[in-house]
């Protein structure tokens, strides 16, 4: 039989995690219950559903508790006002039922290459907050994913929150998911961007892409191709070309490497030209 533990408060959750590092953590349960069909029965379950939840926004940025549901993110007016791509991505996670159960922390911990919330967090330069009985620490999100479904999360740690800074003035934020159908789909390609435009040039560029590598990644070559350049069609094409050095898409049951390569480039190029139009 599988053991089951439900902590009484956040500190208790952290204590239980230290004592039961071999248990599976249940946040929303949306990955865990799918896995129940084809994965070995876990030794135990640490049910932290409802813990570490809530959104707070201040002058520095937004703090989203790891246990915050996608539904809460999708419907947050405060997030929508400054980080509209976060609610936009949240609205494309699974179905309404999944959005209501599933959490941002769960998405981060599972760290699937097709995790719908992840490219946006890369583009927004998010920081991941971790806690254990040993203490709390933070990890920049672009260093958090270490490989295919592996992360910097320690065996005794829980994700407590995600923070995102306020974008610099004049920053264009973009997001697009290309799924297998219009709703309730797994992504073929995802991309998000934050392009800070200063005096008609891209001062800083962050591109987060998903489903085109073993983990969600920042597209460094594409960012380099954009940085310091005006957001023109020619630069857009250069960004798309440079992206080929960043990603390693594959053929699988949902799409083809060729399609993913082309479309990921098109999405980034479109971000650049859209950013240019906002300058108009």
């Amino acid at each position: 039989m599988t053991a089951y533990l439900r902590p009484t408060d956040d500190a208790h959750a952290i204590a239980l995690r230290a004592a039961h590092a071999d248990y599976l953590v249940l946040a929303g349960g949306t990955d865990l219950l799918v896995a129940a069909h084809h994965k070995p029965v876990p030794v135990g379950i640490l049910d932290i559903a409802g813990r570490f939840a809530g959104i707070t926004v201040d002058a520095a940025g937004a703090r989203i508790g790891a246990g915050t549901s996608w539904r809460a993110i999708a419907t947050s007016a405060e997030l929508a006002a400054t980080w509209p791509i976060l609610p936009a991505a949240a609205r494309e996670v699974g179905a309404l039922q999944i959005q209501t159960r599933g959490t941002i922390g769960g998405n981060l911990a599972t760290s699937s290459p097709v995790g719908d919330g992840l490219p946006v967090l890369l583009a927004l330069d998010a920081t991941i907050h971790l806690a254990s009985v040993r203490g709390a620490r933070t990890v920049p999100y672009h260093q958090f994913c270490t490989g295919y479904r592996t992360t910097a999360l320690g065996a005794d740690e829980l994700i407590t929150a995600v923070t995102v800074p306020r974008p610099a003035p004049g920053t264009y934020l973009g997001w697009r998911k290309v799924g297998t159908r219009a709703a309730q789909s797994i992504s073929k390609v995802m991309a998000a961007c934050a392009l800070e435009i200063v005096d008609g040039r891209i001062a800083t560029a962050r591109f987060g892409v998903g489903a085109v590598a073993a983990r969600p990644i920042r597209a460094a070559a594409a960012e380099a191709a954009a940085t310091g350049q005006p957001p023109t069609a020619a630069v857009a094409a250069a960004v798309a070309a440079a992206l080929r050095h960043d990603i390693t898409p594959i053929d699988d049951v949902r799409s083809t490497a060729a399609y993913r390569l082309e479309v990921a480039g098109n999405l980034l190029a479109r971000f650049v030209t859209n950013a240019g139009r906002t300058q108009g």
């Binding site: 297998t180 159908r181 479309v263 098109n266 999405l267 479109r270």
Partner: protein, 760 residues
């Protein structure tokens, strides 16, 4: 539509609607069955080879588990002797074993090799994990070309399950060639359509137990098909086995063949366990193992004269039947009978073959062979219009069949030809095509296009099928004051029992609430034929109307003689009280049998004559928008006009049209069952994609009524025709938008990307 005087023609709520919406409806898995054991299936993992035996893990506790392999059963002994009859799933042929015996030949992945029953499903699944079938693989036949080459022979000596040849206006191939050579131009194409999963919401589910007779209950379309198969499997008489349909959560053809297999398994297990056994498939198992739409390759040549009229049509149809014959010959028959399309042509040659491969058997799916050939001919007609520089709808208007014209089989069309009404209905609402280019909400450039399709669908069984079937239905006034319609037609969500109540009530002058339609069970209802072929409203509904009319006449005649006044209910009650003409149940029953309309002639040998009693007709207009960044196709508009003869219940009819349209649009641009080495690689709802409401526009549905004189109130078929044409309309719209021909479905964004890369 004129205002209805009785229940027929009214959009009455579905009889089963409240129970389904509130969750009160009990599906098979919801039913309490005392002491039930749970059955699971051990399946092959190779496409072709031999089953060498089953290894059981000695470390596993087998004490509460029953394992059945075919060699453990007493075949040939018959039910009366405590054994079984023949190890086949009896349909048309007897080539498909219910369970491959040790030493026997495996012909596809996911073929049943052994059955397991245990008191809990978890234990049964654990036991399955402790079983390892030993298998020896052989070279497999995985494509239509492999099958036709016949280096590996799976069926007969050439892998051909069935072939048909239709000749119109010529005696032999030489004469045909002369007609084609005379054409001013020839439009030629090869069209590929893929497998499609029915994706009914309720997976395959069945239970069996013994209580005097052998009882089987479950999710199914055709109780008498299961009954027939079990008589062979058990080696018993008709009364020794009772088959009952339970509330069925969708079928779409997917519960036409396979329930006979599942019923056989439940029966084998219940015999071995000595307790009731139920089997409910997991979704991945259902997708991996059960029937899908036949993949098809259709080569089509259209010979045109200088004015664009068709002088000859040449079609070569090949369906991938999968590993066993199942119903492939019948599916192929419908495919070839529709392959020339609803267009005038003096000379037509259609050759059709269904071939054996090492895929799981392909089978019935809404449209039943017609969608595959409709896709081909409606692409061809579009290409012809394009080549001639004629507007596509105008070309169809000029050359479509009208009364007095003959089809490919020489069937002269007289009544109920909806061509002009359909053409006018589409033309009336079409409006201007969408702007060629634009931009979507992502800032991406888009290109747009419009496509059309026009098509027909034979209603009821092919040729002399309805006569051979001789379906029956009864209407019964019972001592408790109710009136029952007894028919074996199943309601799987399409509204059969609601329209039966409407038709019977209309004939008897009663409110529909006075009519009950009991769940079909073979010991209660007569064999009305299967719930397939768009025949339920037209054929069985007609039987219900005739039986009700006869019952009313009998009661009224008696009442007039006896001087009894009142409505039908009062007079029937008096007649029952008087004991006049009662059946064994103390009821007044009228049973009628199908009679063909006058003048139906069909020759199975030459495939000529009246292929169907009548046709439904339909037209579809589709506007598409293609995102140039992602190559995703948005269907922005879909108008579908369908001639159903008479809408017995307009909301149900509209629901059938809209549901079929969505299924067809999904087949066109989303749905792809992927096989690798004979195995379905996307056997999950996550990856075997079907449309959501987000994928379809608001559908513009137009019901056209060109009555069929021999159908109830003029009704003909509606269930399948909406599936036939929209895929071609989508492909035609994409060619209009992109200037590139797409001759296959599904047309995925990856295909568009590849085609555009190749074209540039």
């Amino acid at each position: 539509m004129s205002a209805p005087s009785g229940p027929v023609g009214r959009s009455l709520p579905r009889v089963d609607g409240v129970a389904k919406v509130t969750g009160a409806a009990r599906y098979l898995d919801d039913l309490p069955l005392a002491g039930v054991h749970h059955g699971v299936t051990v399946r092959s993992t190779i496409a072709h080879g031999t089953f060498d035996g089953l290894d059981l893990d000695p470390a596993f506790d087998w004490s509460q588990v029953v394992v059945v392999t075919a060699d453990r059963l007493a075949w040939g002994a018959g039910l009366a002797a405590g054994g079984f009859g023949e190890n086949y799933v009896a349909m048309i042929d007897r080539d498909q074993p219910a369970l491959v015996p040790p030493g026997g030949r495996i012909k596809h992945v996911a073929e049943p090799l052994a059955l397991i029953a245990a008191p809990t499903k978890a234990l049964a699944l654990a036991a399955r994990a402790a079983c390892t079938p030993r298998q020896t693989a052989r070279p497999a036949v995985l494509t239509i070309d492999d099958a036709l080459r016949a280096d590996v022979v799976l069926y007969g000596d050439d892998n051909v399950f069935k072939q048909f040849l239709i000749r119109k206006g010529h005696a032999d191939d030489d004469e045909f060639d002369l007609a084609m050579v005379a054409a001013a131009q020839i439009i030629e194409g090869t069209y590929h359509t893929g497998a499609q999963e029915q994706m009914y919401i309720e997976p395959q589910a069945m239970a069996a137990w013994k209580d005097g007779a052998v009882h089987v209950a479950g999710s199914m379309q055709c109780p008498y098909y299961v009954h027939k198969a079990l008589k062979v499997l058990l080696g018993c008489g008709a009364d020794d086995v009772v088959v009952a349909q339970t509330v069925t959560g969708g079928g779409f053809g997917g519960k036409e063949e396979y329930p006979s297999m599942l019923a056989a398994h439940c029966v084998m297990l219940t015999s071995a366990v000595g307790a009731p056994v139920k089997m409910v498939y997991e979704r991945d198992e259902d997708i991996a193992a059960t029937t899908k739409r036949h993949p098809a390759r259709v080569r089509h040549r259209l010979g045109l004269d200088a004015d664009g009229a068709i002088v000859a049509i040449d079609v070569d149809v090949v369906f991938d039947g999968g590993a066993y014959l199942t119903l492939s010959p019948v599916v192929l028959s419908r495919g070839v009978l529709h392959a020339a399309g609803p267009y005038r042509a003096p000379v037509v040659r259609v050759r059709g073959r269904a071939v054996a491969t090492n895929h799981p058997p392909h089978g019935a799916f809404r449209g039943f062979g017609a969608p595959q050939t409709t896709f081909a001919y409606e692409r061809q007609i579009d290409k012809a219009a394009r080549a001639l520089g004629v507007a596509p709808w105008a070309y169809r208007t000029r050359h479509a069949l009208r009364p007095g014209d003959t089809t490919a089989t020489g069937q002269r069309l007289e009544h109920s030809v909806g061509t002009d009404d359909i053409l006018a209905a589409i033309a009336k609402v079409a409006g201007p095509p969408p702007a060629r280019t634009g931009e979507n909400a992502h800032g991406a450039p888009v290109v747009r296009g419009r496509g059309y399709a026009f098509y027909f669908h034979g209603a009821g069984f092919t040729g002399s099928g309805e006569q051979r079937l001789a379906g029956k239905a009864s209407v019964v006034a019972r001592p408790d004051g109710t009136v029952a319609v007894l028919a074996s037609s199943t309601d799987m969500g399409q509204g059969a029992i609601t329209i039966f109540a409407q038709i019977a009530a209309d004939a008897l002058g009663l409110p529909p609430s006075a009519i009950v339609v009991p769940d079909p069970a073979t010991d209660v209802v007569p064999d009305s034929g299967p719930t397939v072929a768009s025949r339920t409203a037209m054929v069985v509904g007609g039987l219900v109307e005739r039986a009700a009319t006869a019952l009313k006449a009998r009661v009224e005649a008696w009442a007039a003689g006896a001087g009894v006044a009142g409505d039908f209910t009062a007079r029937a009650a008096a007649m029952i009280a008087a004991g006049a003409g009662l059946d064994a149940h103390g009821a007044l029953a009228e049973t009628v049998q199908y009679e063909p309309p006058p003048g139906i002639h069909w020759d199975d040998a030459t495939y000529t004559g009246q292929a169907y009693p009548c046709f439904g007709w339909a037209g579809c207009l589709v506007d598409v928008e293609v995102d140039r960044d992602t190559h995703q196709v948005a269907i922005t508009r879909c108008v579908h006009a369908v001639d159903v003869g008479k809408a017995i219940n307009p909301v149900i009819v509209a629901g059938q049209i809209e549901g079929g349209t969505v299924q067809a649009l999904g087949w066109a641009v989303l749905e792809s069952v992927r096989y690798k080495d004979g195995k379905v690689t996307n056997a999950s709802m996550t990856n075997c994609i079907v449309p959501t409401f987000g994928d379809v526009p608001d559908l513009e549905t137009i019901i056209v009524e060109c009555p069929y004189p021999f159908g109830p109130h003029g009704a003909k078929g509606v269930g399948e025709i909406p599936m036939d044409g929209p895929a071609a309309a989508v492909a035609n719209a994409l060619e209009d938008a992109l200037g590139v021909a797409f001759d296959h479905v599904p047309i995925l964004p990856e295909d568009i990307a590849r085609a555009l890369a190749g074209a540039s």
